[in-house]
Amino acid sequence: MNAHALMASSPATPAPTGFAPSVGAGVAGEALRVENLRVELASGADIIDHIHFSLAPGEILGLVGESGSGKTTLATALLAHARRGAQIAGGRIDIAGASLLELKGDALRRARGGLIGYVAQDPAMALNPALRIGNLLRETLLAHEPLLARAAQADRLQQTLVDVGLPGDREFLRRFPHQLSGGQQQRVMLALAFVLRPRLIVLDEPTTALDVGTQAHILQTLRRLCKEQGVAAVYVSHDLAVIKDLVDRVMVMYAGRIVEVAQRERLFARPAHPYTLGLLAAIPDVARQRPLQAIAGHAPAPGQRPQGCAFAPRCARRSAACTSLEPSLNALDSAQQVACLHPQLTAVAAPTVVPATMLSCADTPLLSLRDLNLSYDRQVLFDLSLDLYKGECLAVVGESGSGKTSLARTLAGLGDTAQAELTFDGQPLSLLARQRPAATRHRIQYIFQNPYRALNPRQTVAQCLQAPLEHFFGLKGAACRARIDAALARVALPPDAAHKYPHHLSGGERQRVAIARALVCEPSVLICDEVTSALDVSVQAAILALLKQLQGEGMTLLFVTHDLGVVRAIADRVVVVREGRIVEQGPAQDVLDHPQAAYTQGLLAHSPRLG
């Protein structure tokens, strides 16, 4: 579809006013042109550098990279903004003929919003809770177009709300943000961006907090709006699978540089940069089980880039030249550019499918839960029963609010108001951890979702692991020390990690410490509550591999997740939970390949997939 023609014919696109095109403005017909952009810290170390790219009206670019790759820095730089302690040190950004970095004061303020819209990650934080939806939109509109007549204003608001898939009636305009669902809130954010008819929209992982169904709908809406209105978009994400059906082109960033840019189909069929290959191999695929490959090592911090290619230390294809020459972005052909001395030039072989191993379960369950009812201010779990067999990995799947976390917490002994019958190893077990005998308490361990909150920031890793060892086994001194070293080795952390505080560790390393804390208790059951959802995909792959390895050593796992790809990668059996009730359960292969419940079918249909 020709986006230019669309844009010209669209009555909604106003003529740009108030922006005199400056000398050397971008090529006509481009919505965005970025040249040699550089953002650096006060120390002079670059966060991003040598950034060149351009976007046509209506084109959607996926900006992909892991934490620390500089993708968010680039996204905010497109609004001429740098976070505290950083500054835009050089380069040029042209948006619809205006040179953004030369604008100051009022002109810059009008450009933000007017020319470039921004949609933040968490709508619940981004929407002012004290303002009604109507006021939010009206204020935004009036700040940029104060001369708009009242009737035209109302029309524009209503049209925009309908465009983003929200009811445009008066009743809806009177609501407050907290009265909307997460998906509706994110649609309001889209409306706030689109109401000003910008030329470019920057979206920073706007769907990470949403359920898969909601996410799929929002992405559809976004693509339709960009195409209809000729608005270019930069969509920031850490997950290639999520953006697969949304974007036209993908730009992969690593350590502050663009390492690969390609048309969407090309990138997924024939990734050329080893880092892109690694990212793709790390994403669990809901369609088929395959071994997940983590990317070993860390991305370098700003100012610590190695000589030559920044990815070389983690790269399997590196040669001697890679450590001395920094590769520049070269076009392989019109559809693909890559910054690598040894790009992959042929399509990658389809990943080997792992044959499903049928687990030989013991007949009697290790942990058995009957008729769990749980209420807070309302009832969240209804007559829920499940069995966990020794040595298996049982996945509990559901959307936010399904009660899956409450279920996991109850098993771990944190469900204060729960009522149920629980047996463990044939013996009745209390629902409250403090009433369980120490001899059983240590055998059921829990790993939390957010590794940033699960570790005491004032304790070193050694202190954190030592406490349960003293508590459960009365170990002190050298014996304790030996167990700590063994546990760290088991989760693949170096021994010197013992003396570090959590803030010295990355997210993946923190989650490993949390797992080590559970392991020193010598558990039989590990309850994992969304343990990888706060982590990058390559780190997630490593953590999943670690859990799989523990299972191989005889551990029983209960894995709570919303991600069916992760279920495919790790689970033997699945329980699907919806609104506090089990809607389907069975062997993972069966449920994922032949879902029976309509709800499971819906979840599967909306799950982002690579294939």
């Binding site: 771990a412 944190l414 951890a433 005491n456 406490a467």
Partner: protein, 272 residues
């Protein structure tokens, strides 16, 4: 808890040096003083001279000697009061923050009622009823400070107690005391230390206020607060007898405040 990097924080260095200087002055002062604090060595409100750089006070004492001797009492009293309030308030506040039930309501209610009394009035009331022994004054100032500490400790503890590492400890079956001391206390210490610095400052202010009103250290003993009170009549004739102790109190307040702020900054940066 803090590494050697604390000294890289300029505010900690500056605040620490200023505070240390005043404390040393107060501690070593009595030995350095040219005269005893109660010796009448000159004329009433005698002007500054080579022998007495800051002149003489309302009874003809040497102002420099009284300054050097009059710091110990006010500093130890404010330090003791702030320390007692810190320990008492932290214990009650943490208990309230972790229990979140009836005990919490009771402690919070008590602290709120207590806070409703103006500090100085409360202290004046107690001292005028029970007498002016130094330990009694310290206790009353500490009691006036305690509800503020309770509120702060409780608020910080509530925020920490909802974090998952506290739940992890509960799940392991650690005792409540252990959770309070090992999991929660280290994470609320920073705001409490900053508050401690502020209390030192307020304590010096409140104690000099008490002396000024005639309820503090009894004359003829030397005390910075008392000196301001004694010599106010001669402010226009011999201002140094009033200004010098006021200045020292001000500098001490500045030092502890900057130090407290530096600790807060350092600890915020440490966790980034």
């Amino acid at each position: 808890m803090f590494s050697a990097s604390v000294w890289r924080e300029p505010q900690i260095r500056r605040g620490g040096l200023v505070t240390l200087a005043i404390v040393l002055l107060a501690l070593l002062g009595p030995w350095l003083a040219p005269h005893a604090a109660t010796d009448m060595v000159g004329g009433v409100y005698g002007p500054p001279s080579g022998e007495a750089p800051l002149g003489h006070d309302f009874l003809g004492h040497d102002v420099v000697s009284r300054l050097l001797s009059g710091g110990v009492s006010i500093l130890w009293m404010s330090l003791a009061a702030a320390a007692i309030a810190l320990v008492l308030g932290t214990a009650l506040g943490l208990l309230a923050g972790l229990s979140r039930q009836r005990l919490d309501q009771a402690i919070t209610w008590l602290a709120d009622v207590w806070l409703a009394f103006p500090d100085l009035i409360l202290v004046l009331l107690i001292v005028s009823m029970l007498g002016r022994a130094p330990w009694l004054i310290v206790m009353t100032v500490a009691i006036a400070f305690t509800p503020g500490v309770i509120r702060l400790a409780r608020g910080s503890a509530v925020a920490v107690a909802s974090q998952e590492f506290v739940e992890a400890a509960q799940m392991m079956g650690f005792s409540r005391t252990r959770i309070l001391l090992r999991e929660i206390l280290p994470n609320v210490l920073t705001p409490l230390l900053v508050h401690f610095g502020n209390m030192l400052t307020w304590g010096v202010g409140m104690l000099s206020g008490l002396s000024f009103l005639g309820y503090g250290v009894a004359p003829p003993a030397a005390d910075w607060g008392l000196m301001i009170n004694e010599n106010q009549a001669g402010l226009l004739v011999q201002p140094w007898a009033v200004l010098a102790p006021a200045l020292l109190i001000g500098v001490f307040a500045y030092g502890t405040n900057i130090l407290a702020e530096g600790i807060a900054r350092h600890s915020a940066g440490e966790r980034k």
